[in-house]
């Protein structure tokens, strides 16, 4: 499978979940594991560009597919990705546990909806749980990320 643009070995036990393979097999611990049954959204990654729950997929099912995790948004030391920057500016996180899921969902959502309405934002993030922020900061962050993405590059 390809993970964040790199071809990686995918020889794993069939019952290993993609979420556990990313974390334990590949050391990509940015993908968080919360509920492990598809409710919380913390483990959301992009599969061929579309957000999916990595806890509801077997790692072997990613064979031949491209997986993108939160680590791909910005290299260490480089400027933050616009979505990360927006969450930073607008207090879109407190403890940060749910944040990787929100970042991946928001990244794919804004690619498909560059100028979203508030109702579209609500629906897009409705499958991700945050126990800290009360979502107000997250909604602001998504709106801000849309602005940052639309701004022409300097």
């Amino acid at each position: 499978m390809r993970v964040n643009g790199r071809e990686l070995p995918d020889a794993v036990d069939a019952r290993l979940l993609l979420s556990d393979h990313l974390r334990h097999g590949l050391g990509l611990t940015g993908t968080h594991v919360g509920c492990e049954h598809g409710v919380c959204g913390c483990c959301t990654v992009l599969l061929d560009g579309r957000p999916v729950r990595s806890c509801l997929m077997l790692a072997v099912q990613a064979r031949g597919h491209e997986v993108t995790t939160v680590e791909a948004l910005a290299e260490d030391g480089s400027p933050l990705h616009p979505v990360q920057q927006a969450f930073h500016e607008c207090h879109g996180l407190q403890c940060g546990f749910c944040t990787p899921g929100f970042l991946m969902v928001t990244t794919a959502f804004l690619r498909d909806h560059p100028d979203p309405s508030d109702a579209e934002i609500e629906e897009a993030i409705s499958g991700n749980l945050c126990r800290c922020t009360g979502y107000a900061g997250i909604r602001r962050s998504v709106r801000r990320a849309a602005e940052l993405r639309r701004r022409p590059k300097q």
Partner: protein, 250 residues
Amino acid sequence: MKPAPFAYHAPTTVAEAVSLLGSLEDAKVLAGGQSLIPLLNFRLARPAHLVDINQLQELGQVYERDGGLAIGAIVRQADLESHPLAADRCPLLPLALRLVAHPVIRNRGTVCGSLAHADPAAELCATLLALDGRVVARSTRGVREIAAADLFRGPMDSALEPDELLTEAWFPRGGGKVAIAEETRRHGDFAMAGVVRAGDRLVLFGVAPRPLLADPADPTRGLEPSADPECSPEFRLHLVEVMVERVMSA
């Protein structure tokens, strides 16, 4: 490892898939996995074999057939939701799909998988029954069609035999007005109660062990919904009455 051990099979043709289902003891079909993998993670399901049908490209089609829409077994809910044929040929389907869980779940979940899972609160099962649709089941013994009225027998219990693969669902267009309504505690949750209208046909879901055809003039007759901590039977009946009024006047 969350799931208990199983042997994993990833056939590339339907013939190979049904041959596996016909020869293996205690096999489950893995389609989108949005219901099955949680059951595996909790070890509520411990099948000896998983037959992953995600590589069966021949089951990835959406096409018109017999005045309705045929949907192959690996068509994702999100893909059908935005499919031009769906809005045009079966306008109830996109309305129902938008109520299924969350967008991210619909990116992976399949229409046929939801029907085969037969959850009594599932929007798509109720929609298939309201439209009087059918599914196609294949095994090494042959091919048969199962009408929605015969498909859903009880909670997570369908008329599919263990060696059968649900290869396609067929949703007729449905004459007259169509509407769907449901009440949930949180966005994307399973419904405490829901109703679907397709012309004169009315189906209730989330209020009985399977989706039920109901009389629009007396929709709660004989209905004995269960109680749970989120919702009393009386409240479920009240929700049904309010929502039936809404969809029938839509």
